[in-house]
Amino acid sequence: MTATDICLAKSNADALFQRKRIFGFAVPAVICAYLVYIFFAFDIQGLAQRANMENAVTLASDSWSHKVHVTRDNRSGEISYAVEGERKGRYPEGERPAWVSGDDIITIDLGGDQIVRYLPDNRTEIDLPDFPLIEVQAEGRTLTSNLETAFPGDLPDWISASNRRIGITTPEGRITLTGARTEVFNYFPGWELFWFTLDSPYHGQGVGQILFGDRIDPTRSNVTGAVYDWWNNAMWRHKDVMWAIGETLLMAFLGTMGAAMIALPMAFLAAKRFTPIMLLRATTRRLFDFVRGVDALIWTVVLARAFGPGPLTGTLAILITDTGTFGKIFSEALENVDNKQIEGVSSTGAKPLQRYRFGVIPQVVPVLLAQILYFLESNTRSATIIGAITGGGIGLMLTQAIQTQKDWEEVAYYIVLIILMVMFMDWFSGWLRGKLIGRKD
């Protein structure tokens, strides 16, 4: 008898091992097969062709550097200097960067002995070490150059040339020449004009000078003036950026809290213990499921039609979706409350509302608060995304900055701010949770 028992146990164990062994191989095999399928379904091979490495290089270099444009208008002969080529970053009349010299002949020193000269009569000389001197003459809409004699045979791949447009990219900068204008881009590391634009008197002043030095602008004190100029910086728009971050946080805060306030009473309706009527309970639950299932994306789209773009739409989208999620979580928490406490409260002659207030709420508050605070943090991220769709907050600024494909340092700035914002909310909600319901460990 014992022998048969052992035999049975052994064969059972063998079968179990067999199953485990097959399982152990099957799971990785299925995962691999799925990844292979995805490789073809997503056309990863074709990605190499579609990927634009030039974009990647621009992005990587532009995000931490800036360029100063030296532009000659070939019709008027006027020369302008501007950071990022923007009107807002233009050097004031009579001022120019230190690496530009000369009056009739403008000499631009790109660094590394690479020199560009703007000569009279729309002529340009580009003097690169180890290469012959390049001369270009702009006439009307066409360009004549000595490129063919200077580089017999094929042009190097850092020069692109036609009779309308010549582009030269060197490690130090970039030169583009067309009939209408000649432009030199000189690259420098750092985010230029982050603190003050060129028209501010505080540009180029040290921190010590601003804090403790003599009054720079006679009409205002240094600190107020500096803060005002920084806050209204036209290049980096610190004021708008901060407002946008505020909007995003506002969307997350209003959406989460509003959802919690609406979901709490409704959760009582969905909990078996508090709502004996089946129909009412089922209806509330289906309502939660529906609201959750429709998803923030569709709510955003629908609400944007009614309320127009802006933070309110984002708030409502978060509010509606999270009402469903909170309703579900809260009603589950309410199902699990301990009856003893409620009985104790009701034995003192408490009315139903008092029973809820003193018997139920204290039990569920820790769970509820933990969930609400967790969602507050997660909704900060959602608000960024929803803002990009519905048009509000930092999400919109980020999408716009990326779509214009110009100011990658601004994109980098926004990304850093978004990450800091989310990490701050993460820390803040953790801190608040610790204060309100005590640490878990």
């Binding site: 990844l35 995805i38 634009n52 909007e247 509003g258 429709v294 933070p311 991220r381 990304i415």
Partner: protein
């Protein structure tokens, strides 16, 4: 003597009561103040949001049903086409689900490794625990849309940017949750394996993974639900799938509302379906553990 002690007892009861009442008063004051601040924040926040919005709240409230009504009525008129449209957008739906599934898979594997590297007692390099923790914090903090938009610029539109973006966020989020589970894992099997000369990866795979697998799978399933929504949303900013089709259908406006309706139906159905399936399996996983 007896009178005296009784008197002092009465007095102390009185003082306890007054102390208690004072404490209650203070508590009430504090919670009242907190409530007041909260209400002020909510009301002023709502007003700011209302001011900065293009349309007002009270005007919009009346129009909230207009768009769904238009879409529904048009979809109802063309209800015969609806099955065809659903079939038309089915491949896009598959793409959305695939994005979510692959990114969950990759994110879960990365999160698994990250979690072991950042858990006390399990880490391969205990000194680097804070580094890996910060690393997963940062991955978690970056909203998917940031990475997706940058990658769309470099890689062009399509599912891959969304996949990478969601996978990175998933790895960070799961890394944190996983490491909380792994902290409670029993170290005896690991020690046993160590005594046989197992390598670090063998110790993790054979000693820790079987203990934490139910919880991990349950978290990964929950993440999958979230990622389906995320991949639909990222599609809307150009990353392929159902969201992308939805944006196009929306851009066409009236006359093509039946297409939008078909996409709405698909998206709603998918989310509800996967919610149900995943919550069913999650319940089974956690209940199986309790037994």
């Amino acid at each position: 003597m007896a009178d005296l002690s009784l008197g002092s007892a009465a007095q102390s009861v009185g003082s306890i009561q007054s102390n208690y009442m004072a404490q209650v008063q203070r508590r009430r004051l504090y919670s009242g103040l907190a409530l007041l601040i909260f209400v002020v924040l909510m009301v002023s926040g709502f007003n700011i949001a209302d001011d900065r919005n293009a349309g007002g709240f009270w005007d919009g409230l009346g129009q909230i049903g207009d768009y769904p009504a238009e879409v529904l009525s048009e979809a109802w008129e063309k209800r015969a086409d609806l099955p065809g449209l659903i079939a038309k957008y089915f491949p896009a739906l598959i793409e959305t689900i695939n994005i979510a599934a692959v990114s969950t898979l990759i994110g879960a594997i990365a999160g698994l490794i990250l979690s072991f590297l950042s858990t006390r007692g399990l880490a391969k390099w205990p000194r680097l625990i804070p580094l890996f923790r910060r690393f997963s914090d940062i991955m978690r903090a970056v909203p998917e849309i940031v990475i997706a938009l940058v990658l769309i610029f470099v890689l062009g539109g399509g599912p891959v940017p969304a996949m990478i973006a969601i996978a990175i966020h998933t790895a960070g989020a799961l890394g944190k949750l996983f490491s909380e589970v792994a902290e409670n894992a029993d170290l005896k099997p690991v020690e046993g394996l160590a005594s046989t000369g197992a390598t670090w990866s063998q110790k993790m795979l054979l000693g820790v993974v079987p203990q934490v697998a139910p919880n991990y799978v349950s978290y990964a399933l929950l993440r999958f639900e979230i990622n389906i929504r995320a991949s639909a949303i990222l599609g809307f900013v150009g990353a392929g799938g159902l969201g992308y089709e939805l944006r196009n259908a929306m851009a066409w406006g009236p006359g093509r509302f039946d297409e939008a309706a078909a996409i709405f139906i698909l998206l709603f159905g998918t989310i509800v379906f996967f919610d149900q399936v995943s919550s069913h399996y999650r319940n089974r996983l956690t209940e199986g553990q309790a037994q």
